[in-house]
C-alpha cells in the first residue's frame, strides 16, 4: 500500500474499495471519503508510534500478563439446539437456512 514515509499517509480510492470488499461493506461516496480520512489518520498515528526505538523491546503478544488459562475436557451442554436456532433469521427443521453457497 502507498505509504509515504515522511508526512501524511494517503489512502487511494482503490484501497478503500478493496477494504470495503473484504469487510463486506457497501459505502456511499461520502462514507468512502470519511473512511479514507479516518484511515489516513490511523496510519499517521502508527507512523508516530514507529518513531519509538523498540529494538531492545520484546514483542508483546498479549496485553495481560496472564497465561495458560485452560478448560478440562469435560462435556457440559446437553442440547443447545433450540437456543442456538432462536438466533436464526430463517430455519428449516434443525438447521440455519442461508443463501446457496457457490463453491462447495
Amino acid at each position: 500500500m502507498e505509504q509515504i514515509k515522511t508526512g501524511k499517509n494517503v489512502i487511494s480510492d482503490q484501497t478503500i474499495e478493496y477494504v470495503g470488499i473484504l469487510a463486506k461493506l457497501e459505502l456511499s461516496e461520502e462514507e468512502k471519503q470519511a473512511a479514507k480520512k479516518d484511515m489516513e489518520r490511523m496510519l499517521d498515528y502508527i507512523d508516530k508510534l514507529n518513531e519509538l526505538d523498540t529494538s531492545q523491546t520484546e514483542p508483546m503478544s498479549h496485553i495481560f500478563s496472564v497465561k495458560n488459562v485452560f478448560r478440562e475436557d469435560v462435556a457440559e451442554h446437553v442440547d443447545g439446539g433450540e437456543d442456538t436456532l432462536a438466533n436464526a433469521p430463517e430455519r428449516k427443521d434443525r438447521a440455519f437456512v442461508v443463501p446457496k453457497t457457490v463453491d462447495q
Binding site: Y18, H62, V69, F70, G80, G81, T84, R94, A95, V98
Partner: protein
C-alpha cells in the same frame, strides 16, 4: 514428454482430535447427532461469548509434534484468520499463524524406491467450521454448527513429495502415528482426516518452483492419487502449449475425474491475521513437556523392531501385526497370557484375517478378548483339542468372544487320546470299507485319506489325527 517434468507436492493435513469436547467450549464433539445439537454461544460466535482453551487439545498437538520429530514452541499463541462464509459464524477462525505449537519436524516414508524424509514445516491448532448441506430443490444451503469448534491440528508438510506414491506413503505413516497416539481415529470417510494438496510442476533439474495450485478436501487415498495424476497432467499440458499455470484453489470431482477452479470472490485470500485478543498465550513448561513425553506410547517403527528382536517374529508378521494398533494390542495382551508369540501371530494373521475379510471388517471392529485367544492357544498346544476343533472354537471366539475352556467342556470337544477306543473304531471302519482297504493294498495311497476321514467322522472330529494315522497303517 512427462519424463521431462518433475511434480512437487506439499500437503496440508487437517486432523480432528479425539477430545470429548470442542476446542473453546464444553460442547460435545460427538459425530452424527441432529443438526445444531452440540452448540452454544461460543461455537456459534455470539457477541460477548469468550473462548477457553481445552487443555487436552494442547497435549494432543504436542504429542503429535513429538512423534513427528518436531520442535515444540514452548511459548505459543492464537491468531484470528478473517473471512466471511456461512460455515463460520464468527466471521473469523481462531488459528495459529505466528507461533504455532510445533515446527520443523519430519517423518520417514517408505516407497519402492527406498526410504525418504518428508519435512514437516509446522503443526498448528485451530477450530473446525460448521457443515453446509446443499438443498437440491431450493436455492438455499442449510447450516449445521455441530462441527463448528471441533479441535483440529493442521500438519503442514514441506514441498518434499514428488509422486502420488510418496503422498500416499506420507499420509499412511501420519495416520498410523496419530492413531497409535490415540490423538484421532483419522477416518477419511468421516472427515476426521482431510488433506489439501499443493502441487506444481517444473522441468527436471530446475531449482525454481513452478506456480502451484491447491486442491482442497479430497475424500480418500485413492481419490488423492487420481487427483494428483490429473492435476500434474493438466499443468504439463498448459506449459507445453505455452500457457501458464494460474495460482488458484481447485476442487477435485472424483466421479468425473477432473478438477475445476473454485470461484472465489476478489482476493478472498487476504485473511488479515491478527493476534487473538480473547485467548491468553500458552506457556509449556519443561515439566509439562516432560510429562507428555513420558506418556508417549511406543510407535509403530519401535514396535516392529521389538517384535522381531524380542519375540523372534518374522519381519512379515511384525509388519502385519503393527499395521493397526488394535492388532498390535491384541497380540501383546495374548502373548503376555500364553507366552507363545508365533502361535498368537499365526491365529491373528491366519484365521482372524480370514474372518475379517469374510465380514468386511476393519481391525478396529475386532471384538474378541486376548484372554480367550490365549486360552484357545493353550488348549490347542496341549493337544486337548485338535486343529480342526480349534478352528471351530476360534470362530466362536471371533463371533461371540466365548470362553474356550467352558465351550470345549460343554460341547465335549476334547480330543480322544484313548488308544483302545480308537483301535476299536478303526477296526470297525476297516471292516465296513473293504473297497478302500483293497485300493490301499493295490497301491492307492490316497485311499487312506478316506479311511482317516471316516474315523474322524465316527469320532465326531475329536480324535488325535496323528494317532489315527499311525493305528490305521498298523492295522492295514
Amino acid at each position: 514428454m512427462n519424463k521431462e517434468y518433475e511434480t512437487v507436492i506439499g500437503l496440508e493435513v487437517h486432523v480432528e482430535l479425539a477430545t470429548k469436547t470442542k476446542i473453546f467450549c464444553s460442547c460435545s464433539t460427538a459425530f452424527g447427532s441432529a443438526p445444531n445439537t452440540h452448540t452454544c454461544p461460543v461455537c456459534t460466535g455470539m457477541p460477548g461469548s469468550l473462548p477457553v482453551l481445552n487443555k487436552k487439545v494442547v497435549e494432543y498437538a504436542i504429542a503429535v509434534g513429538l512423534a513427528t520429530g518436531c520442535e515444540i514452541n514452548q511459548y505459543s499463541k492464537f491468531d484470528r484468520k478473517n473471512y466471511f462464509y456461512p460455515d463460520n459464524p464468527q466471521n473469523y477462525q481462531i488459528s495459529q499463524l505466528y507461533l504455532p505449537i510445533c515446527h520443523d519436524g519430519g517423518i520417514e516414508i517408505e516407497t519402492q524406491a527406498g526410504t525418504k524424509m518428508i519435512g514437516i514445516h509446522e503443526i498448528h491448532m485451530e477450530e473446525d467450521a460448521g457443515k453446509l448441506i446443499h438443498d437440491d430443490w431450493e436455492e438455499v444451503s442449510l447450516v449445521d454448527y455441530n462441527r463448528s469448534g471441533v479441535p483440529l491440528i493442521e500438519i503442514v508438510s514441506e514441498p518434499d513429495m514428488r509422486s502420488a506414491e510418496e503422498v500416499i506413503a506420507y499420509l499412511d505413516k501420519l495416520r498410523m502415528i496419530i492413531q497409535y497416539l490415540g490423538a484421532s481415529d483419522c477416518k477419511m470417510q468421516e472427515g476426521s482426516m482431510r488433506a489439501d494438496v499443493n502441487l506444481s510442476v517444473r522441468k527436471l533439474g530446475s531449482k525454481e518452483f513452478g506456480t502451484r495450485t491447491e486442491m482442497k478436501n479430497i475424500g480418500s487415498f485413492k481419490a488423492i492419487a487420481r487427483a494428483i495424476e490429473a492435476e500434474k497432467a493438466r499443468q504439463i499440458d498448459l506449459l507445453e502449449s505455452g500457457e501458464s499455470v494460474v495460482q488458484e484453489t481447485r476442487r477435485w470431482n472424483d466421479e468425473q475425474g477432473y478438477s475445476y477452479a473454485m470461484r472465489s470472490k476478489e482476493d478472498a485470500q487476504d485473511y488479515r491475521y491478527f493476534p487473538e485478543p480473547d485467548l491468553v498465550p500458552i506457556e509449556v513448561s519443561d515439566q509439562w513437556l516432560q510429562k507428555i513425553r513420558g506418556r508417549q506410547p511406543e510407535l509403530r517403527d519401535q514396535k516392529y523392531k521389538r517384535y522381531v528382536e524380542q519375540y523372534g517374529l518374522p519381519a512379515y508378521d511384525a509388519q502385519i501385526l503393527t499395521s493397526a494398533k488394535k492388532l498390535a494390542d491384541l497380540f501383546e495382551e495374548a502373548v503376555k497370557l500364553c507366552e507363545k508369540p508365533k502361535k498368537v501371530s499365526n491365529w491373528l494373521m491366519g484365521e482372524t484375517m480370514r474372518l475379517m475379510k469374510e465380514h468386511s471388517m476393519d481391525p478396529e471392529d475386532i471384538a474378541f478378548s486376548p484372554v480367550n485367544l490365549a486360552k484357545l492357544i493353550v488348549l490347542a498346544d496341549a493337544g486337548t483339542i485338535n486343529g480342526t476343533v480349534a478352528k471351530e472354537v476360534f470362530e466362536q471366539v471371533f463371533a461371540n468372544d466365548i470362553d474356550p475352556d467352558q465351550y470345549v467342556e460343554q460341547k465335549g470337544l476334547k480330543t480322544v487320546n484313548d488308544e483302545d477306543a480308537l483301535r476299536k473304531t478303526i477296526a470297525q471302519i476297516i471292516e465296513d470299507n473293504p473297497k478302500s482297504v483293497e485300493d490301499y493294498h493295490n497301491g492307492k495311497e490316497k485311499a487312506i485319506g478316506f479311511l482317516v476321514g471316516q474315523t474322524m467322522k465316527a469320532m465326531k472330529g475329536k480324535a488325535n489325527p496323528g494317532m489315527v494315522n499311525q493305528i490305521l497303517k498298523e492295522l492295514l
